[in-house]
């Protein structure tokens, strides 16, 4: 069973989407380690190390995601998580911006998958199957 760490980053307390992701991924056979809301980069990384996770799914709904996710890839590398997949989704930037631009920025920051607002979790599920297997 593949392990995935999920959680809501930064000073963000939006818990509903987080619960949905947990439910759907668990139903689909993944071992979901949910670190919950108000989680820091260190929380994600420490959880991934101890549980040998293959991917980290970061949610952010309050608009500050871009700041919270800065240097996440570098921190992972520093902690020895070389091949881990990084996904991010939600309202990850301030205001309404062209998603193509947003995606480009996050990919440049080292994220493997970037999702716009309103995307269904099933989309991420398909990507997970492709990236790390089921």
């Amino acid at each position: 069973m593949k392990t995935i760490v999920i959680g809501v980053i930064g000073a963000d307390v939006h818990a509903v989407g987080n619960k949905i992701i947990d439910y759907v991924l668990t139903e689909n056979g993944y071992n979901v380690v949910n670190i919950g809301v108000l989680s820091s980069q260190e929380d994600f990384i420490n959880a991934a190390i101890e549980t040998d996770a293959k991917a980290i799914l970061i949610s952010s709904l309050y608009g500050h995601g871009e700041m919270d996710c800065r240097y996440m890839r570098e921190q992972c590398e520093e902690a020895g998580l070389d091949n881990i997949k990084l996904y991010v989704g939600g309202n990850i930037v301030v205001g309404k911006q062209d998603f193509k631009e947003v995606e480009k920025r996050f990919k440049k920051m080292g994220f493997d998958r970037v999702y716009p607002p309103g995307v269904k979790i099933e989309k991420a599920l398909d990507d997970l199957k492709e990236d790390i297997g089921s």
Binding site: T3, A11, D12, V37, L38, E50, T51
Partner: protein, 464 residues
């Protein structure tokens, strides 16, 4: 009268507490210097003689049984090894502390040659090897197990990590001289603490092996098993006193403090969950009965370290307001460190010792209690809580030679209270303070193994 004897082979004194099981009272106590270097029974015999001399109503043939614990010859020293410092390393440390051990060495991630060398050269008694949740990381614990094998460590190794690695660890240690025990993972799921199995095996190794290595075997032959390390007995007593037993009500959440010559031990019993809805718990799950040991906070052996923890100015704040003496802090500390048997002879020396005790108490509480951190979110302020919220603790109990012999012990223990300059610490809010004047906490922990109800009754009667 049906006397039952509880014996504590301590680092300095061998103490005997005689309890009457018929009428539930403490007949008397006695002590003599511990003699582990020659024959441990010499000290015991001396204490026993004293007990009979002072309490002629105890007849040797009436004695109905013994229970004993020990912290002699440096107590139980352990090394904790894990993966991530805040997670499995911390879980391993808590297992050791909860079993009454002192954690002398701590290692995280892959062990280096230097670390292995430090481990080999140390005088630790048991190694606890953890790492990875069940089904999680297995690479690190296997790597460290191989390193321990290569190093041919001579002390028992308890393996309490990712269960997926158990078979491979068997393969690594089988056919070597290393004595190893595989038990449940100390952190089976992320942030979930499970130290029960590890604690049990620590106690078993302590009874079977460590007692012999420390020269206390003779006492075990005479008195029956030395059933646990002394700090574990204190923790068990505290837990019983907190929870109550059958129809006898307990005290609820409580704290036990023991300031010693070298260390300060804090035990708290209670969940310590957040008291408000806008508080979110962070970090590893806290043990219900939690013990921490501060190796740099003590009255004598660690006196020198105090000035690296508090400044000269801060130190002065701990003197009583009406204390007129102009203490030379550095000199007074040095004197105590160099002469660990130092006993204050003048009023000023007493006042100085009191200040040291207050610092030990204050700083160790800062480290033991939980902390909150404010997070400003678009929905208002939220708080992270790391560690236990102990603000509702009802009782603080002082035990150990320093506190129980100090006339002003209650005043010293008041330094556990909430402080205006430490607002983010979840310290107790003006709890009632009791002193273990007859020095019975460890003895009651021992007694509780066979007679929990009597132990509880006696504690409620004798803690003042």
């Amino acid at each position: 009268m049906k006397p039952y004897l509880l014996v504590d082979f301590g680092s300095t004194y061998t103490k005997i507490t005689a309890v009457d099981l018929e009428q539930d009272f403490i007949i008397g106590t006695s002590k003599a210097t511990t003699t582990v270097n020659t024959n441990v029974l010499d000290g015991y015999d001396k204490a026993f003689e004293r007990l009979l001399r002072n309490h002629p109503n105890i007849l040797e043939e009436d004695i109905s049984g013994f229970s004993a614990c020990s912290s002699a010859a440096g107590g139980l020293k352990m090394a904790a090894i894990g993966l991530v410092e805040e997670l499995t390393v911390e879980a391993a440390k808590r297992a050791c502390l909860g079993a009454g051990a002192i954690v002398n060495l701590v290692f995280s991630h892959h062990m280096t040659k230097r670390e292995i060398k430090t481990l080999k050269e140390s005088d630790i008694d048991i190694i606890l090897l953890a790492g990875g949740t069940d089904g999680g990381n297995s690479e690190c614990i296997l790597y460290n197990a191989k390193k321990l094998k290569e190093a041919k460590v001579s002390v028992p190794v308890i393996v309490a990590g990712n269960k997926d690695t158990n078979d491979e660890i068997d393969d690594i240690f089988e056919n070597t001289k290393i004595e190893y025990y595989i038990v449940d993972n100390v952190m089976p799921q992320l942030k979930k603490l499970d130290v029960k199995a590890a604690k049990e095996v620590i106690r078993k190794i302590f009874i079977d092996k460590i007692i012999e290595a420390k020269g206390i075997k003779k006492a075990a032959e005479k008195l029956g098993e030395i059933i646990m390390p002394t700090p574990e007995a204190v923790l068990l007593a505290a837990e019983l006193l907190s929870k109550g037993y059958e129809d006898i009500e307990g005290f609820g959440e409580l704290m036990v403090i023991d300031i010693g010559g070298a260390t300060t031990d804090i035990h708290t019993i209670g969940e310590g969950f957040p008291k408000r809805t806008e508080v979110i718990m962070k970090g590893l799950q806290e043990p219900f009965a939690k013990r921490t040991v501060e190796g740099d906070l003590g009255m004598r052996y660690s006196a020198n370290a105090l000035l690296s923890l508090v400044s000269d100015y801060e130190f002065r704040q701990y003197f009583d307001k009406d204390d007129k003496c102009n203490h030379n802090i550095a000199k007074s500390l040095k004197r105590r460190r160099e002469n660990v048997d130092f006993i204050p002879a003048t009023k000023d020396e007493e006042e100085f010792d009191k200040a040291i005790a207050k610092i030990c108490c204050d700083v160790s509480i800062s480290r033991h209690v939980g902390h909150v951190e404010v997070v400003h979110t678009p929905l208002g302020n939220m708080y992270y809580q790391t560690g236990k919220d102990l603000s509702d603790i009802k009782y603080v109990i002082g035990t150990g030679g320093v506190l129980i012999n100090n006339a002003d012990a209650k005043n010293i223990l008041r330094s556990v209270n909430k402080k205006s300059n430490k607002k983010l610490e979840l310290r107790p809010n003006n709890p009632a303070i009791l002193i273990d004047r007859s020095y019975i906490m460890a003895a009651m922990g021992l007694l509780s193994q066979k007679y929990p109800k009597k132990a509880l009754k006696l504690m409620k009667q004798y803690l003042l």
